[in-house]
């Protein structure tokens, strides 16, 4: 081989990174397969639960429930909008696939929330942890999905569960980042006031920091949802079902009709979820309206119908 020269030392010097990764991956596969299989279990349970539920609801009932949900969180117009997108999903014939995708996305978002929010809170409290976590989040967002798709298949096999896993990897960062940001952005004077009135750190978190950071955290959830949806197509390469599968099959067979239908389904689903989560993040504060959330919208009407809605708005009034 060539000699070591100053001008181009990398002829000789180099780190065999690829070899290391391969070796360690093989080692993991050989020795820790059980551990990784165990990780599958909770995801499997949640996914099966959500998918079973969503698939068992007939489309008409599903549309009705979805619209009522929209109405509840953001008023009548949102209800109509939800009904419109959901009916369209049914009309283009992708209802069942949409529900599969929705359950994948919801599972991913569930686990993102489970880990992302607490991690974000910890990062907001400890600068050092934030410094460590940040590059990891950068890597999770920028590393091409194909790079970790293969190791995930080697460790977890194929199917919906590993699909959810790669989705989590891709969709987690914005939630952590925005939770961290939201808590750090709580104005210092509010924190000081809360301290002056004798808040313990956990009261501070529950009563001041989390409520004030909610819009930002909800924006994080919104982003996580959107990223999950976009990941679904890539995840379909490891045999994940749903709308992504349709798109992949369509492209593979050059069946543009199939691909477009799948794509449109994804877009409709994205619009539906985006509007819904955005509305949840916005705080409605109408002067004089001191009804609690369950006393408004369809739930309020329902409760009033049965005479329970006449509950005093607050315990003292």
């Amino acid at each position: 081989m060539s000699e070591l020269t100053i001008l181009d030392p990398f002829q000789v010097l180099h780190i065999p990174l690829g070899d290391w990764v391969e070796a360690s991956l093989n080692y993991l596969v050989d020795n820790f397969r059980g551990v990784f299989r165990a990780v599958r279990w909770p995801i499997d349970q949640v996914l099966d639960g959500i998918e079973g539920l969503l698939q068992s609801i007939p489309p008409t009932i599903g549309i009705l429930l979805g619209s009522l949900l929209g109405w509840q969180v953001a008023g009548r117009r949102m209800g109509i909008f939800c009904a419109f997108t959901l009916i369209l999903l049914g009309l283009i014939g992708v209802w069942s696939e949409s529900m599969t995708t929705l359950s994948l996305v919801l599972t991913a978002v569930f686990f993102c929330g489970l880990f992302g929010v607490p991690l974000g809170i910890l990062c907001a409290r400890h600068d050092r942890l934030e410094k460590v976590v940040r590059p990891v989040l950068d890597a999770m967002q920028t590393l091409p999905a194909f790079v970790y798709l293969v190791p995930v298949v080697m460790l977890f096999g194929i199917g919906n569960v590993p699909g959810v896993l790669v989705t989590i990897v891709f969709a987690l960062p914005p939630l952590v980042r925005l939770t961290n940001l939201g808590i750090r952005q709580v104005p210092a004077d509010k924190i000081e006031a809360a301290r002056a009135f004798g808040c313990t750190p956990s009261q501070m978190l529950r009563r001041v920091q989390l409520p004030l950071a909610t819009p930002t955290i909800m924006a994080g959830f919104n982003q996580t949802l959107m990223l999950s949806l976009s990941m679904v197509v890539i995840a379909s390469m490891i045999s994940v079902g749903g709308l992504g599968q349709m798109v992949l099959r369509g492209i593979g067979r050059l069946d543009m009709g199939l691909a477009t239908v799948g794509g449109l389904g994804l877009v409709l689903l994205a619009i539906f979820l985006d509007r819904l989560t955005q509305a949840m993040g916005e705080r409605s504060a109408i002067a004089g309206d001191h009804r609690r959330w369950f006393q408004k919208g369809p739930l309020g009407i329902f409760l009033r119908l049965f005479g329970i809605g006449k509950l005093a708005p607050r315990a003292d009034a």
């Binding site: 006031a193 002056a196 313990t200 001191h290 003292d316």
Partner: protein, 384 residues
């Protein structure tokens, strides 16, 4: 203002901001000043050897320009900022030595704070904001809202319970801030430049409100201000801070009459002294023109145009007017203009100018404290 017992006392408090406070403390002990310490170590001395005490039931104003350490000072009381050395006592208990848990108790029960920026919680209604302190202390909902409503009523916000802070004007927001502090029924109310962010009219209105509330409840209030007029208007006693030191503590009149340093004197230069001084501060008791009965009699008329008659315990009983050419006339107090001892001089000017005789100044019991002549008023105003 009667001399109440001490409720809060501060002894030799220092606060150094920076990573190496001990080094700075050593320099201060060896006689270096704040600027030397900053130049040599980069540590900032916030409060420098402060000692004073606040009496029960008074409005104690800590006043100084920005950077004088007044806002740091008030945060040392409830230990939002930890003092570097020295001790603070509340009702004889040392605050500075409390454990975290005991400190929470003090913050929840004994001291409440009102902030310059209001610092209300935007996600809570006015009612929930007012009840915030009690919610933190886990007081039940019914009790908490009852007390919050009471406090809101006291500050004139009944009917706004379910509004959100952003729907209220600045003045109303600060009323919520005040209600939030009052709901806890604290022994001491700490007010950090509470009215500085309000426009002048609203500020005066809030000052009156505070004076009224304090008079009703006899609450001890520590009020931080950079505005001397405000300090004089509401303060029973004022502590003046300069560069982290407390340079003088006293009533506005005491400070105006005997400024402790050139700085304090310069500070008070622009003040309208007729608003600080009271009739009693300027009135002089001149025994030559006072006839004390039953010892003296109206016949002992001095060669002055006006003489004042007093009875037992110096009670004012009348004036003998011999200014006209005729025989002296005796006038009863009802026929005369009199002022009480604690009337601001400003409110006396008009009266003093309109009557021919020196204005009798009476104590609250009706005894003759002294008399005010136009000359003496002018002299005292020109001196300050």
């Amino acid at each position: 203002m009667e001399m109440g017992e001490e409720i809060l006392s501060v002894k030799n408090i220092f606060k150094v901001f920076g990573a190496r406070p001990n080094e700075a403390m050593k320099m201060l002990e060896s006689g270096k000043n704040k600027d030397d310490v900053f130049r040599e170590t980069g540590q900032v001395v916030g409060v420098f050897d402060a000692s004073f005490s606040v009496r029960k039931g008074e409005i104690f104003v800590i006043m100084g320009l920005s950077g004088s350490g007044k806002s740091t000072m008030v945060r040392l009381f409830n230990r939002l900022i930890e003092p570097t050395s020295g001790s603070i006592f509340l009702n004889g208990n040392e605050i500075t030595g409390l454990s975290d848990k005991e400190l929470l108790g003090v913050r929840r029960k004994d001291m409440s704070m009102v902030f310059q920026s209001f610092a209300l919680m935007p996600h809570l209604t006015v009612l929930d904001n007012a009840a915030f302190g009690l919610a933190v202390s886990s007081v039940g909902e019914a009790e908490r809202y009852r007390r919050a409503r009471e406090a809101l009523e006291q500050v004139g916000l009944a009917g706004h319970e379910y509004s959100y802070p952003h729907q209220l004007s600045g003045g109303m927001q600060q009323r919520v801030g005040l209600a939030r502090a009052l709901t806890n029924d604290p022994s001491i109310l700490l007010m950090d430049e509470a009215f500085s962010a309000l426009d002048p009219l609203i500020r005066t209105e809030m000052q009156d409100e505070l004076i009224r509330l304090q008079a009703e409840q006899q609450r001890t209030i520590v009020f931080i201000s950079h505005d001397l007029d405000e300090a004089i208007r509401i303060g029973h006693r004022i502590a003046i801070m300069e560069g982290g030191r407390v340079v003088q503590v006293g009533t506005p009149q005491e400070i105006l009459n005997n400024p402790a340093s050139d700085y304090v004197e310069a500070f008070f230069k622009g003040v309208d002294s007729s608003k600080v001084l009271r009739a009693g501060d300027v009135a002089r008791y001149d025994s030559d023109i006072v006839i004390r009965q039953p010892v003296g009699s109206p016949d002992d008329i001095q060669p002055t145009p006006y003489a004042y008659l007093t009875g037992e315990d110096r009670r004012f009983i009348g004036l003998i007017d011999s200014s006209g050419g005729d025989a002296p006339r005796q006038l009863a107090p009802e026929q005369l203009s009199t002022v009480t001892f604690d009337t601001p001089l400003h409110d006396v000017l008009d009266l003093a100018a309109s009557v021919p005789y020196p204005l009798p100044v009476l104590t609250s019991e009706g005894a003759l404290h002294g008399t005010l002549t136009k000359d003496s008023i002018l002299k005292s105003l020109s001196r300050h």
